[in-house]
């Protein structure tokens, strides 16, 4: 049995040497906790006592507030109904039409005009043979027809190619827009190394060779200048290098388009087949060595030199027509007024 004066080794309060002081500490702690709890409870108790004194008035205030909240709730529900009905009406009016043109799904909020459909159909038809069996890479491509106030931005995570028309030239603008969306979709379907080589460019459009001529003719780079000055090796070196070689994206787009044109049917499919680098892909697509491709491309862009005089002549024709109209206006629209 342990002696009462022995220390309580291995137990709580082990620093106590005698039972009396330990009991005193325990009691002090209990009292302190009780005091603290009672101090915390005092405000609640006083609040309850206050509320009990003012119970009738508080009840009335709370009742009034509940009534007002109920009224607000009714208003809110009514507004929700109005909003839902408006949205339903909006959706009912906002038809979403879809149409399949080749591999493309044309989506629009209003029925697509015949001219738009014809433009997309024609532009796709001009490239169908070139794309060949690679058409499967375009399955599910969505073209959003955005020519009104209701704009199609995206459809459940699907990339939408924006068909927007800003000009006032009708069918010509539709053709350009159709060409833009189709070449964009074809560019996005290219292997990554080819897209990197294009350096932001895309499959060539109608103006690709003309832009390439302008960029090459005005380039500051020695390789590009030598290429322009009929040195084929420089052309290949400048064009097949990385974007650091400085040849513009327009120029690369033009070369790619030329290789596809040379290759004819199925050239796009051959372009995306496995190959070591961009030059091998272009050679595969064209079906001939890359040097031949570059040489013939150079001749092509020489023919595509922008004709400054022709643009002035065209502007002149329309200017004369407008002049005739203005002359008629000057002759007939006014009368002499004296005084």
């Amino acid at each position: 049995m342990q002696h009462p004066h022995e220390p309580h080794i291995g137990r709580e309060w082990s620093h106590c040497t005698r039972p009396q002081p330990c009991q005193t500490h325990r009691c002090s702690a209990i009292i302190a906790i009780a005091v603290l709890l009672s101090l915390g409870a005092i405000p609640d108790l006083s609040a309850q006592m206050q509320a009990a004194r003012e119970a009738p008035a508080a009840r009335e205030a709370l009742g009034a507030r509940i009534d007002s909240l109920a009224a607000e709730h009714k208003t809110y529900i009514r507004e929700i109904h109005v909003r839902d009905s408006l949205r339903a009406e909006y959706n009912a009016r906002l038809r979403t039409d879809t149409m399949l043109i080749g591999p493309f799904l044309l989506v629009s909020h209003t029925p697509a005009s015949d001219d738009v459909v014809a433009a997309i159909r024609d532009e796709w038809a001009a490239r169908t043979a070139m794309v060949g069996p690679a058409v499967s890479r375009l399955d599910g491509v969505v073209i959003g027809l955005n020519v009104g106030t209701h704009v199609i931005r995206g459809l459940a995570g699907t990339k939408v190619y924006d068909f927007s028309v800003w000009g006032a030239n009708g069918r010509a603008d539709y053709r350009r827009a159709a060409e833009r969306v189709i070449t964009s979709a074809l560019t996005d379907a290219l292997p990554e190394d080819m897209r990197n080589w294009l350096d932001g460019g895309s499959l060539g459009t109608r103006d690709a060779h003309r832009w390439a001529y302008r960029h090459l003719a005005t380039s500051n780079l020695p390789q590009a200048q030598r290429c322009f000055a009929r040195e084929p090796q420089s052309c290949a070196a400048a064009l097949m290098g990385t974007h650091a070689s400085g040849v513009s994206a327009h120029t690369r787009s033009s070369l790619l388009q030329h290789a596809l044109d040379l290759g004819g049917d199925g050239s796009y499919a051959r372009l995306i087949e496995d190959a070591s680098d961009a030059s091998a892909r272009l050679a595969n697509a064209a079906g001939r060595p890359i040097n031949d491709v570059v040489l013939s491309w150079r001749a092509t862009i020489q023919d595509a030199r922008p004709n400054v005089n022709a643009s002035v002549a065209r502007a002149g024709f329309w200017t004369l027509i407008w002049l005739a109209g203005l002359a008629l206006l000057a002759m007939r629209s006014t009368r002499w007024r004296l005084g």
Partner: protein, 238 residues
């Protein structure tokens, strides 16, 4: 050329000859100034008369500098056309058209003769700008790959000046009332289109572009009246 036409031409020449002096000087001097400034900006001297001073400059820098500086030429063409048009009618307005009423010709023919006379007078600044363009491009060595287009530049200037001349002539031919009618008519047209296009879209499902776009593209795009202003005004180009 009839005697009446000769008389109208002579009258119009008298009315606009002093106005033409600064315009002709600008037309001769500006092309040369622009080309010289562009070559200097591009970091070289292309002076054909001083081969020792010739140094290689990059075509892109030259084209870039010319693109920036050539924006002055459409304004020059517009000022030229407007000045000659206003000078054509200024004298008539000031004298309350007494001289024109005294002539034995109908008003429409008189207006047409004045229009022709002004157009002929426009040939003077056009000749001046051709001389200026020729001097500007003949005096420099064009880098490889680029060409000088003094004739196309002059033709563009003439067309632009003629267009502004005819527009201002048609407006100035009448009274303030006519000018107001044309102006208010244009504004109303734009407003009607602003309301009408959304209505067309909502009720008939027809989508058209906004009035501002319509006005912009109609005026500046092909085959709009001011398309000639939107083309290349470069004296030296690819």
């Amino acid at each position: 050329m009839t005697r009446a036409m000769t008389e109208v031409l002579r009258t119009q020449w008298l009315a606009s000859r002093w106005l033409l002096v600064p315009i002709v000087l600008l037309c001769i001097g500006l092309p040369q100034a622009v080309v010289r400034l562009a070559t200097r900006y591009a970091g070289g001297s292309l002076d054909r008369l001083n081969p020792g001073m010739t140094s290689e400059i990059g075509p892109p820098l030259l084209i870039g500098a010319l693109e920036g500086l050539s924006a002055i030429f459409p304004f020059l063409a517009a000022i030229t056309g407007a000045a000659i048009a206003l000078a054509a009618w200024n004298w008539d307005h000031r004298t309350n058209h007494v001289y024109a009423l005294a002539l034995p010709v109908p008003r429409s023919r008189y207006a047409l003769m004045k229009l022709w006379a002004g157009a002929l007078i426009l040939l003077v600044p056009t000749l001046a700008i051709w001389i200026g363009a020729w001097l500007a491009t003949a005096g420099v060595m064009i880098p490889d790959g680029l060409r000088a287009y003094p004739l196309a530049f002059t033709a563009r200037f003439l067309l632009a000046a003629l267009l502004i001349y005819a527009t201002m002539f048609a407006l100035a031919a009448g009274t303030i009332r006519t000018t107001l009618v044309i102006f208010i008519g244009s504004v109303l047209l734009l407003m009607v289109m602003g309301v009408g296009l959304p209505l067309l879209h909502d009720h008939l499902g027809v989508d058209l572009i906004t009035p501002l776009q319509t006005a912009w593209y109609t005026m500046l795009g092909w085959p709009g009246p001011f398309e000639v202003f939107g083309g290349s005004w470069l004296l030296i180009d690819v």
